[in-house]
Structures are given as structure tokens and as C-alpha cells.
């Protein structure tokens, strides 16, 4: 384990090896928002430096995974760069404030969100309350997940975490809006999934899998869900999500 250095606000960044081809930087001793800012700022810095041999950077909530080819670089070099950047961050604001807000229409329940009843039951509230909580506040994207560009968001203000499905679905339709634990997500691609489904957006979440950048949204951006009736599906079908920010 690397000697962690205490930053002036009391938190610190701890860097540990994660096998022969990766290290993990973890923000500890600071509030969740700050920890998230720190690991994403470190990821941005590492991206900008384009360190030889580094080929994978995964910032999430309070942790940053850096994968590299240990023939082209080594743990000491990656650690040194991370330490240097962590020190530079200091205590100031570390994210650019220019975030975007996307407004996403969702058909809740029924065939669109088959798990809405069970989630309501688990939370001890009505289906309507689940929907109201889900679209009652802007949800912040914290990171992008599998299989491609899935926006992982802070979940709605549910009274408790939502359990995962006992047996995952083998096929979740693209645009499905799901929750689990204290997180929320839109599934951009058809894929297997173990998160309960509340609804589905008719928007096209990803325009082009070969696009660079892959997604219109970035960590820090927010999503606001708006309930629509099943009859309104066709009014939005196929519209790019990228066009709904404002």
C-alpha cells in the first residue's frame, strides 16, 4: 500500500496495486461528492497526460482503476503521476461547472416497466409514488457502465435501497430505465440485466456505437425523467437523447 497523503480538507487519496497491470486510487475520508470529484478529476488529468502504456481508466464513485501494460510502464510511474495530480488538486473545485441537463420521457409500468409493482411493494409505497420519486428530481450521472455508455446515476430519493432481481433477465430492451441499490440507470443497449425495470424511454440513447465520444452525456450531467403515456411513445420514438438537453 502506498503512503496516503492527507489533503488539507482532511481526506486523502490512497493508491494500491491491483495486480501486475493496474493500480487503484481511492478517495477516502471525504464526503461522497468530493470523493467523486477527486477521482474524476484524476481520470481527466491522466487522460490528458496520455501516459505511455496506460490503456484503461475507470473512474466511478470514490475509486479510479488505471489499467496499463506493465511492459510499457510500471506501477511506480503510474503511482507517481497519480500522486502528483492528487496533490495538485488541493481543496479547490475540481470539476468544470459546465454540466448539461437531459430531459428524458419515460413510459412507466406495464410492459415498459414490468418491475414497477414489485419495486413499489418492496419500498412500501404506491406505484405512483415510485414514479413521482423517480421523476421528481434531477439525477446526476456518476460514471458510465457496461455494456457501453450506460449512464450510472444516483438513484431517486427512495426510502431504502432497491434489491436486485433474484434471477437476472437475459434480455433487457434498449431504453429501459432501471434502479438497484441507491443507483439508477438507462440501458442503452439490449443486454442481460439484474436491475428491476421501472419503465422505458422511446429515445435513442446512443446514436452511433462508433462515435467519439461514444455518449452525448458525461459524468456530472443530470437527467430529468418525465412520465408520458404509452400513446405518446411514437411521438418520441427514435429521437436522439442527445437532442434533449437544455
Amino acid at each position: 500500500m502506498d503512503g496516503s497523503e492527507v489533503t488539507p480538507d482532511g481526506g486523502s487519496v490512497v493508491i494500491v496495486d491491483c495486480g501486475d497491470s493496474a493500480v487503484v486510487a481511492k478517495a477516502v475520508g471525504m464526503d461522497a461528492e468530493r470523493a467523486w470529484q477527486v477521482v474524476h478529476a484524476l481520470a481527466d488529468a491522466l487522460d490528458a497526460i496520455r501516459l505511455d502504456g496506460v490503456h484503461g481508466i475507470v473512474p466511478t464513485y470514490d475509486s479510479l482503476l488505471v489499467e496499463f501494460d506493465c511492459t510499457d510502464t510500471d506501477h511506480a510511474t503510474v503511482r507517481r503521476v497519480l500522486r502528483h495530480e492528487a496533490d495538485r488538486l488541493g481543496t479547490g473545485p475540481v470539476r468544470p461547472s459546465s454540466t448539461r441537463r437531459f430531459v428524458v420521457p419515460v413510459v412507466y409500468g406495464g410492459e415498459f416497466g414490468p418491475d414497477l409493482p414489485v419495486v413499489a411493494e418492496q419500498l412500501g409505497v404506491s406505484e405512483r409514488e415510485v414514479v413521482e420519486l423517480h421523476c421528481g428530481a434531477d439525477l446526476t450521472v456518476r460514471c458510465l457502465g457496461a455494456p457501453a455508455g450506460a449512464p450510472m446515476m444516483d438513484g431517486p430519493a427512495f426510502p431504502r435501497p432497491v434489491p436486485r432481481l433474484a434471477s437476472p433477465r437475459t434480455h433487457v430492451l434498449p431504453g429501459s430505465v432501471a434502479v438497484a441499490g441507491r443507483q439508477a440507470v438507462i440501458c442503452p443497449m439490449p443486454s442481460p440485466g439484474g436491475w428491476p425495470l421501472l419503465g422505458r424511454t422511446p429515445l435513442r440513447v446512443l446514436e452511433d456505437l462508433d462515435a467519439d465520444p461514444l455518449t452525448a452525456y458525461r459524468p456530472g450531467d443530470t437527467f430529468r425523467f418525465v412520465p408520458i403515456a404509452p400513446e405518446q411513445w411514437d411521438d418520441h420514438a427514435g429521437r436522439p437523447l442527445a437532442a434533449t438537453h437544455g
Partner: protein
């Protein structure tokens, strides 16, 4: 008319490269050849870039015929390799003439064979790589009758009558033991497994049929052989490396391989080393592995030695090819695919 490689018997084969690097921030797994070492060596033996598209042939018999003279190399698991019925060696470059049939059968001791062609084959690209991503539905398995575009041809480089190969390049081949030893280093969450962590090194683990390029599931001979998490509490989703050894359900190990989703919420007990991952890319269902604990420094040294051997081979290949005047102009890289047809059509219901 462009030259092609016609696939007669596809078995389970696909066009691969070393992976889709630099996209994990967008949630894209790296994927790519599961036995990276054998894939690199196959390409190097053909004078290709190590990351050029090549064929990954899994377990089942395979055959194909080029429409022009080519130079190929076959690496990976031991198999019966013939060109028009004549036995040929793996791990060396081979001249194959227009119309001759390359046959790979009886794959054994491991499950993956790599076939590279000088100048490489045409393959669609997504985010800079041709590596199939089964979850995204990108890249597909080859089918009988498929024709792959060939970038180059290569005049025969062997004895014109007896077809005696001219090459003795001594490529660094894998060992294919009956019981695999897979090197790991301690994982970042080792302490969460308390005294049970050592169980990883006490018994053999057998790879279950529910294993693939995303992860290998392994069971001990009894549930008590499997390490158990003793800590409690939720783990926030975070990035997990390829090679992470987890115990998600409690009775089985899950070893993540190159198709793994980039984030997970299970504690990481150990991490398979880079050389260990290439070896694991050869271990099939029903085969057994024993894990061996290594320090990070030992693991890095082993990986560098393996890559150094490939580098030395590259120099020998260059020398020999220069002498024989085999043209190895840089292989064209993968060609972009028109978009957005690989996005599935929007379906309202299932």
C-alpha cells in the same frame, strides 16, 4: 477481384485482435484474443503488427482455403495442422498456395488456436478494434462459406518440390500441461476474506461449462474449498481489472476475463497475472487449475520476459524475411464500418 480466404468449416471461430483499448471510461470492455501471447506470436511470425486482425479458433475443427499464395502461422493449443493433407508445424510461418486447404483439427490440451495471415484479413472495426463484443452484438462468429478479404499475397517460400519449410524461428510457445498453474497476485480486498483467503492456494479448481470470455466459473471439490468473504457491508460499484478473482455467490470462484463489464460490486480476492491470463485463455471446461501466489514484482518480471521473447522473435522474423525478400509492408488496419447499422433496430417490446 480481391483475394479471399474462404472458410469451409467454421466451427467456433471469429476474427479477433488484441482488444478495444482506451474505451473503458465509456463502459466498453476491452475484449480481444483470450490467449494474448499466442495471438501476438502468430502475427509476429507473419511479419504483422502484433495487434493485426487474425482468426481465433475455439475447440472445434476448422478449415479454409486462400485464393492466392499466402504466408500463415498457426499458434495456440496443440492441434493437427495440415495443408492439403500434409502435416505442418505450428509456431512457424507456413507457405500456403492458392487453392490449398488449411485444416486444423483435434485441438487438445488447450482450447484456442490462432491463425494469422501475412498482411492480415479484412475486418469491420468498432471503436478502433475488430474484437467481437457479444453483448453489443458487434462482430460475429464465422460461418461455413464466409469469405474474408485478404490484404496481401506472398509468393511461396519453401522447397518447390518437397515443400520443406525454410523456417526455424524458435517461437516462444506456451506449455500445455494437464493441470494448469495460474499465477495470481493479492487482490485489493484480500483482507475481507480473513483466514479463508489461503484456500485459493490449497486445492485445485475445475472450470465449469458456464465459462466464457467474460469470466470463468470454477468450483473446488467441496464448497469448503472456496474462500469466503468474512467482511460485511455493501461495496460501491468500482472498476475491476481483467483477471479479478471474485466469489460472488459463495460456492464458486469467478475469474473475470477480457469481456468483463468494467465495473462490479464484489470484493476482489486476487488478480490473475498478465501471463496467467494468456494461460487461462487456453483452459477449457472440465480442466483444472491450481493458483500460485506471486508478488507484483515477480508477475511483472514474468510478463516482461514473455513480451521480451516475442520482441526477440520479431527481430529474427525481420532478419529472415529481409533475406528472403518477403514483403512485410505494414498491414492495413481494420476498416471502418458504415454506421449505424450495427445498432439494433428499436424494438418496442420483446
Amino acid at each position: 477481384m480481391a483475394d479471399t480466404l474462404t472458410i469451409h468449416r467454421a466451427g467456433m471461430a471469429s476474427v479477433q485482435d488484441l482488444g478495444r483499448f482506451g474505451r473503458s471510461r465509456y463502459g466498453l470492455p476491452v475484449n480481444g484474443a483470450l490467449d494474448q501471447h499466442s495471438a501476438r506470436v502468430a502475427n509476429v511470425l507473419c511479419g504483422n503488427d502484433e495487434g493485426a486482425p487474425l482468426l481465433e479458433i475455439t475447440a472445434l475443427d476448422f478449415s479454409c482455403t486462400p485464393s492466392t499464395d499466402v504466408l500463415v502461422a498457426v499458434t495456440g493449443a496443440p492441434a493437427d495442422l495440415t495443408v492439403d493433407g500434409v502435416v505442418r508445424p505450428q509456431w512457424e510461418p507456413l507457405s500456403v498456395r492458392s487453392g490449398e486447404t488449411i485444416r486444423i483439427s483435434g485441438i487438445r490440451h488447450g482450447i484456442r488456436v490462432y491463425l494469422a495471415v501475412l498482411g492480415s484479413v479484412n475486418a469491420p472495426s468498432l471503436q478502433g478494434s475488430c474484437a467481437p463484443d457479444t453483448i453489443l452484438g458487434f462482430g460475429r462468429s464465422l460461418r461455413d462459406g464466409d469469405e474474408l478479404g485478404l490484404q496481401r499475397h506472398c509468393p511461396p517460400v519453401d522447397h518447390p518440390e518437397f515443400r520443406i519449410p525454410l523456417f526455424r524461428l524458435r517461437a516462444p510457445a506456451h506449455h500445455f500441461p494437464t493441470l494448469w498453474t495460474i499465477d495470481v497476485t493479492d487482490g485489493p480486498d484480500l483482507t475481507e476474506f480473513g483466514d479463508t483467503a489461503d484456500r485459493l492456494f490449497r486445492s485445485e479448481f475445475t472450470v465449469s461449462p458456464q465459462s466464457n470470455h467474460i469470466g470463468l466459473r470454477m468450483a473446488g471439490s467441496s464448497p469448503g474449498d472456496v474462500p469466503r468473504r468474512v467482511a460485511t457491508g455493501e461495496v460501491l460499484s468500482r472498476g475491476v481489472p481483467v483477471g479479478a478473482v471474485e466469489v460472488p455467490a459463495g460456492d464458486e470462484l469467478l475469474v473475470l476475463h477480457r469481456g468483463r463489464g468494467v465495473t462490479a460490486g464484489y470484493p476482489v480476492l486476487a488478480v490473475v497475472t498478465a501471463t496467467g491470463l494468456s494461460a487461462l485463455g487456453q483452459v477449457g471446461p472440465g480442466q483444472s487449475v491450481r493458483f500460485r501466489r506471486r508478488t507484483v514484482a515477480e508477475a511483472v518480471a514474468a510478463h516482461r520476459a514473455q513480451r521480451g521473447a516475442v520482441h526477440a522473435l520479431k527481430n529474427r522474423v525481420r532478419t529472415v524475411f529481409d533475406v528472403l525478400r518477403i514483403p512485410t509492408s505494414p498491414a492495413r488496419t481494420v476498416s471502418p464500418v458504415p454506421t449505424p447499422h450495427h445498432l439494433p433496430a428499436d424494438r418496442r417490446t420483446s
